[in-house]
Symmetry: C2
DNA sequence: AAATATAATGCAACCAAGTTGCTTAATTAA
DNA sequence: TTAATTAAGCAACTTGGTTGCATTATATTT
């Protein structure tokens, strides 16, 4: 599970994630790479990169799926989940470094958290 | 803005929200009401009910849109936002009563929060 | 109560995100 | 270098959601 071959396409994707600080929506990736790469391929590589713990994914404010490079976030031990911030003006999404403790809820077993802050980023203020 | 006429369809929707405690996905609503009501109508009524502050909406773990009746939650003054819980076994989504203070983030102006807890509900444990 | 203005519904067509099955091509291991 | 196997490409499809426009229902006015 998650033994990713070093294909040209995988390298392209990895390169994007390594040079880009912010999160990227799959839709944007597909658009940006259209012509270079099939959209199915993009989806499948992202799946594999996530299994390998290279990237993590989450859902943006309008239901689109976003990916960002994992940097020190333990994606499996989901207990230092970080929030994400989405600017409603420019649409940029970034990982916030401030970690966040999972709230306890009586009667429920919580094992993942999706915390999305929506607002205006410093550039758009 | 938000002056909703009391049509048969609106009453049907309101009735569903008043008898259902949990949140409902739009997709489910459309399915449940197919034959009774056009899907466009469902989407539009939900929009209006939200403008009126009758229901609030949020995004589930797989990007689907969910709605739930507002009960005492001030949907416009987004500062007593409540979290939502989605059970990954049965799929049910419910509003948690525990309120939640919006975290401060330096440089950003945060005005909405989407906090989704994913796990296993008491029925599925 | 009837007429009018206006808001809401239905319909069909559309768009975009994401998925599936299958064939072909590219890695990696032998 | 060949063989085993993973990954890429393609096309077709599914699903959630939207749009424009014609028709119908609700409120309002007289």
């Amino acid at each position: 599970m998650g033994v990713t071959r070093q294909t040209k396409q995988v390298k392209t994707l990895l390169d994007i994630f390594n040079t880009e600080n912010n999160a990227i929506s799959v839709a944007d990736l597909v658009k940006k790479l259209s012509g270079q790469m099939n959209k199915t391929t993009v989806y499948r590589i992202l799946d594999r990169l996530m299994e390998d713990g290279i990237v993590h994914s989450f859902v943006g404010k309008n239901g689109l799926k976003w990916y960002a490079k994992c940097q020190g976030c333990s994606c499996d031990a989901h207990f230092d989940v970080h929030p994400h911030f989405q600017c409603k003006v420019c649409g940029e999404v970034s990982c916030l470094t401030s970690s966040f403790k999972i709230p306890e809820v009586k009667g429920y077993k919580v094992d993942a958290v999706n915390l999305l802050l929506v607002g205006t980023c410093s550039d758009c203020l």
